[in-house]
């Protein structure tokens, strides 16, 4: 299964997915991207992830702190805030409705539009 989804699909879903990962527990950047790639969403580059996280921080949905690493320089650990949880709950709910509807339209399209030989 090819793990590079279209960029605009990713852009639409990524912020919510990152919030959802953080709702499971605080994590640093690399752990977040591993969790997402493990879920089949694709490999998120640092250059996409950190600006997204800093926008979430600016919105008050996430907080960040530097934790000392065992062997080397520290890691920046991100945690969801109550405000972030509210936003996630609301938006994820809407997303599920949206995708249910698009899935319905697309399922019938996939079923009927069989490629002609």
């Amino acid at each position: 299964m090819d793990d590079s989804w279209p960029g605009d699909w990713m852009r639409a879903a990524l912020t919510l997915c990152v919030l959802a990962v953080l709702a499971e527990g605080e994590a640093h950047g690399y752990a977040i991207s591993q969790r997402l790639s493990g879920a089949g969403i694709g490999s998120i580059k640092g250059g996409t992830l950190y600006p997204l996280l800093s926008r979430l921080e600016a919105d008050g949905q996430v907080t960040a702190s530097w934790r000392q690493g065992e062997a080397g320089p520290g890691r920046k650990v991100f945690a969801i805030t109550p405000r972030g949880r509210v936003a996630l709950h609301e938006q994820a709910g809407k997303w599920l409705v949206f995708t249910e509807r698009t899935n319905a339209v697309l399922s019938s399209a996939v079923a009927t539009a069989k490629p002609k030989r």
Binding site: G29, G46, G47, P51, G72, G74, K76
Partner: protein, 176 residues
């Protein structure tokens, strides 16, 4: 194998990362991103790359492009830019005329000001450019992991500036 944690942030960086950091800091300063924010951005890149072992150019894109998405006060040229250019021009003229007076014994712009004073005036005018440069661009960049200042000027820049200055004076002397 690693030294004390306090210095681990800047030592043990790959040459690639050092280079990336220099360009990134310069690009962010140019966009007038606050110094503390620059420190955060750089530390994020370094700590991520330290863990994944990736090339920062691949993980974050070219440093100048990466810097573009961060908001600063902007890159406007503005009044300060014009003032800096005027000071630079005036400094150059004072230096040239001062050197010329020393060499040929003429008058410093028709006055009896000695050449030395002209050269010092030129240096003073050039030094005045520094406070004119927007403060943001000169802010200290602090690494949030260590609290230490990130030195992101390429090490050769000060010898280069000194050499350029001396060569300029020499040039003015021999070619003037």
């Amino acid at each position: 194998m690693r030294g004390p944690v306090v210095n681990a942030a800047s030592e043990g960086l790959s040459p690639q990362m050092k280079q990336y950091r220099e360009v990134l800091v310069m690009a962010l300063r140019t966009r007038e991103v606050p110094g503390t924010r620059i420190g955060e951005i750089v530390a994020e890149v370094e700590s991520h790359v330290a863990e994944t072992g990736e090339d920062p150019n691949l993980a974050f894109g070219p440093p100048q492009k990466y810097a573009e998405q961060f908001d600063g006060l902007g890159t406007s040229f503005g009044v300060r830019g014009v003032l800096a250019a005027l000071l630079g021009g005036a400094a150059g003229l004072a230096l040239a005329e001062g050197v010329s007076e020393l060499r040929d014994g003429g008058a410093f712009y028709g006055t009896s000001v000695p050449g030395w004073v002209g050269i010092l005036l030129g240096i003073a005018l050039a030094a005045l450019i520094v406070p004119v440069v927007p403060r943001r661009r000169r802010e200290r960049v602090i690494d949030p992991r260590t609290g230490q200042e990130i030195q992101a000027w390429p090490r050769w820049i000060f010898p280069l500036m000194a050499t350029t200055f001396l060569l300029t004076l020499a040039g003015l002397w021999w070619l003037g």
